[in-house]
């Protein structure tokens, strides 16, 4: 039976949304993984949003050194699917699993609203169910979502088709309107917007559903 791990750090606050997405959309077992765990026995891993360790020092910096992240690094290097949402994306860049970094929004404000995104790669386990060029609406809720990377990193991202989501209207100053990227191998994806909060009519948008369906069909085909 398929299982999806959801990592919980002190200060995570979207872990229950992620667990609910796994259980309701994918209809598979969600396994909470505590930050001090050092083994992973699941078929995919979600790093949820929130403020791990209070965002002390830099968002994601302390979480990236936790025992579970050492296990996630090994898991990802063996090809395991990993997605980091919001703070999870920040943890992935701090861990070196994804290139670049997420700086303070250029507006310096915390932005919480729905945004329109362009799907720019459907070659990841999480975006197979989308069409390239498709527009989706996910909420964002962050103060440090301004994606930045040096010119050679941006060029590599573009050449390898590693940019997965772009903002239609850039809310936070991100380089090249980047909202989400993958690693070169495409099994690790990070994005600032929240697909797990976009699953039904009462959340105004259900555009996040295909992301979890994509993961389910990927796992059914590969596990």
């Amino acid at each position: 039976m398929l299982k999806v791990g959801v990592v919980i750090f002190p200060g995570s606050n979207c872990d229950l949304d992620a667990i609910r997405a796994v259980e309701t959309v994918m209809n598979v077992k969600a396994v909470p993984l505590w930050h001090q765990d050092n083994t992973i026995d699941t078929d995919a891993v979600i790093l949820p949003g929130g403020f791990s360790y209070g965002d002390y020092l830099r968002p994601g910096a302390i979480a990236s050194h936790s025992p579970i992240m050492q296990a996630v690094k090994i898991y990802a290097s063996n090809g395991g699917p990993v997605i980091g949402i919001c703070n999870g994306f920040q943890i992935l860049t701090e861990s070196g699993l994804l290139p670049g970094t997420l700086l303070r929004n250029t507006t310096t404000r915390f932005i919480s609203r729905d945004v329109s995104l362009l799907v720019t790669s459907n070659q990841t386990p999480f975006t197979k169910g989308f069409a390239v060029g498709q527009k989706v609406t996910f909420p964002i809720a962050h103060k440090d979502g301004n994606y930045q990377a040096d010119p050679s990193t941006l060029q590599t991202l573009q050449e390898n088709n590693q940019i997965v989501f772009q903002y239609v209207e850039n809310p936070n100053g991100s380089l090249h309107d980047i909202a989400g990227i993958s690693n070169k191998e495409r099994n690790v994806v990070g994005l600032m917007p929240h697909p797990e909060r976009a699953l039904s009519d009462w959340t105004r948008t259900s555009d996040g559903v295909p992301l979890f369906q994509s993961l389910l069909s990927h796992l059914e085909a590969h596990v």
Partner: protein
């Protein structure tokens, strides 16, 4: 015992929106000569090690491993006995 003082600052070519906002606030308060504001972090660590050199090397390693993000930040390490 040594006192290690570490300053972590945004690199010069990195936009510092926090610094910019504080600059605007200072200008609004009448500090009209405020040309630029950059905001970083000031970290003070007490280390129980034998030598100043050892304390300095450890401070640098701390910056590399955790305290600074090499992509966007630069750091300085100063050591004094305490």
């Amino acid at each position: 015992m040594f006192k290690v003082t570490i300053n972590v600052d945004p690199k010069k070519d990195i936009l510092d929106p926090q610094g910019k906002t504080v600059q605007h606030a200072l200008l609004n308060l009448g500090f009209l000569h405020t040309e630029q504001v950059r905001i970083g972090k000031h970290i003070v660590i007490q280390l129980q090690v034998d030598s100043k050199e050892e304390a300095h090397a450890m401070g640098v390693k701390m910056c590399q491993d955790l305290l600074a993000n090499p992509l966007t930040e630069e750091y300085s390490v100063e050591v004094e006995p305490c």
